[in-house]
């Protein structure tokens, strides 16, 4: 199993946010598959199913912070654990996408090395391109 650089995954409990972000990302024509989930639980179930079927893992996760079940950082921890359980040693890029500029969220971000970028909403084509080029997705 590998990381699939043509696959991107969005997790946000707000369905409209996912709708908009899917549209914005779609316009870039970089990814073949743009997945969106409205809950951490669904996301974990999906990842488990990928492991069961030996399918590749999306290379980028865009994660909201404030969600009912668990917050985005807790989800990243859970994903980490899941990867460990399956001896999957590659690490996708996690981008935090949030409305918040609260100190406590920045602190959490600093404590989460898997989270590579902290983006404040709304997502735009420019912001997206900027971070994708940083990780050479635009080459």
């Amino acid at each position: 199993m590998q990381l699939d650089r043509n696959k991107i995954l969005l997790i946000d409990d707000n369905e409209i946010t996912n709708f908009c972000n899917k549209d914005i990302i779609g316009d870039l024509n970089i990814f073949n598959e743009i997945l969106a989930f409205t809950s951490p639980g669904e996301t974990l179930d999906y990842l488990k199913s990928l492991f069961e079927n030996k399918k590749d893992i999306p290379a980028i996760f865009i994660v909201d912070v404030k969600m009912p079940e668990m917050d985005g950082f807790e989800l990243i921890d859970e994903i980490d654990e899941l990867f460990e359980e399956h001896d999957f040693e590659l690490m996708p890029l996690f981008f935090i996408l949030t409305t918040s500029n609260h100190k406590r969220d920045y602190e959490q971000f600093d404590k989460t090395p898997q989270a590579k970028e902290y983006i404040t909403k709304p997502l735009s084509e420019e912001k997206l391109k900027e971070m994708l080029s940083k990780f050479s997705f635009l080459d």
Partner: protein, 295 residues
């Protein structure tokens, strides 16, 4: 036709000169409505902000406590409202893209519907936060009056959804009137009924039983729903803390303030509330009133 629409029309005329503008009438109306709603929201938001500033200067004694809760409050208010505004922003951005493309009428309609829904939710959010700030920071004079329970329920049902009434079973044999602040009782009932609908089982109609009774001379109103429920024994007091949302709410819109408001409101009237529920078996809320609330 207002200024915003004029700008929109100019854009359309410039980018797609052969468009028949009269066909876009519904879109302009939708955009207008959204802006009007946003205006209301901003005004309400200013009201909240002003209220918070006023209260903070007053509350010397409880400054620390209030600061702490304000921090949490601000965090949630700003998150929830910002999300709505940002969604509006993003939706309008996408709308602009599709509005000039032929054959995208369905997409445009879909986006307009989302815009409308989003604004409605924003207003709901503002109203809930206003209610909290009123409870938390204002010592409103309570006006005890005789409330006709059936009438209060009917009013709330009508304001939520008239059709709901046929799913409610009323048993007011023990008493049907109660001495309480009417605004408070209405607010409590509205929150309980809204929850009962929100957390109904997906493939079933809501089913709500409302019953009055006495417990050690205390008048009680007991509301039971048969929704998805949650395990109240495990969650305990966490349930009543503001902005807490639980596993069962993962697909349900909400701000996590319903139970908090219910408890605050009951307590401000000298009563209390308790909750009992199990997963998949619905939830029972017991409202307990002062002994002299039924005379």
């Amino acid at each position: 036709m207002n200024l915003r629409n004029k700008i929109l029309i100019k854009q359309i005329e410039r980018l797609a000169p052969d468009q028949n503008l009269s066909e876009w009438e519904p879109l302009f109306h939708a955009v207008d409505r959204v802006y009007e709603q946003l205006h209301t929201e901003v005004r309400l938001l200013e009201e909240i902000a002003n209220k918070m500033v006023d209260d903070m200067t007053d509350a010397n004694k409880n400054l620390e406590r209030i600061n702490e809760s304000l921090d949490g409050f601000n965090y949630h208010v700003s998150h929830d409202l910002k999300s709505r505004f940002m969604n509006t922003q993003s939706l309008v951005m996408i709308l602009k893209k599709y509005v000039n493309q032929p054959g995208q009428e369905d997409k445009v309609n879909e986006i307009c519907e989302k815009l409308e829904w989003n604004s409605e939710k924003a207003i709901e959010t503002v109203n809930e936060f206003l209610e909290i700030s009123r409870l938390e920071y204002e010592n409103e004079e309570k006006r005890i009056e005789i409330c006709d329970i059936a009438e209060c329920i009917t009013n709330q049902v009508e304001s939520i959804n008239g059709l709901l009434y046929k799913h409610i079973q009323l048993d007011l044999d023990a008493f049907d009137k109660i001495h309480f602040d009417k605004t408070s009782l209405n607010s409590v009932l509205r929150n309980i009924l809204t929850n009962a609908i929100k957390y109904k089982k997906e493939d079933e109609e809501p089913r709500i039983e409302i019953k009055t009774s006495f417990n050690f001379d205390h008048p009680m109103i007991i509301i039971r729903d048969h929704g998805i429920g949650l395990d109240t024994e495990i969650l305990g007091d966490e349930l009543f803390k503001p902005f807490n949302r639980f596993k069962n709410s993962k697909f349900i819109e909400g701000n996590g303030v319903g139970l908090f408001l219910i408890r605050k409101t009951m307590e401000s009237g000298g009563g209390s509330v308790s909750i009992y529920g199990k997963e998949n078996e619905g939830v029972t809320l017991s409202l307990k009133f002062k002994k002299d609330a039924v005379r």
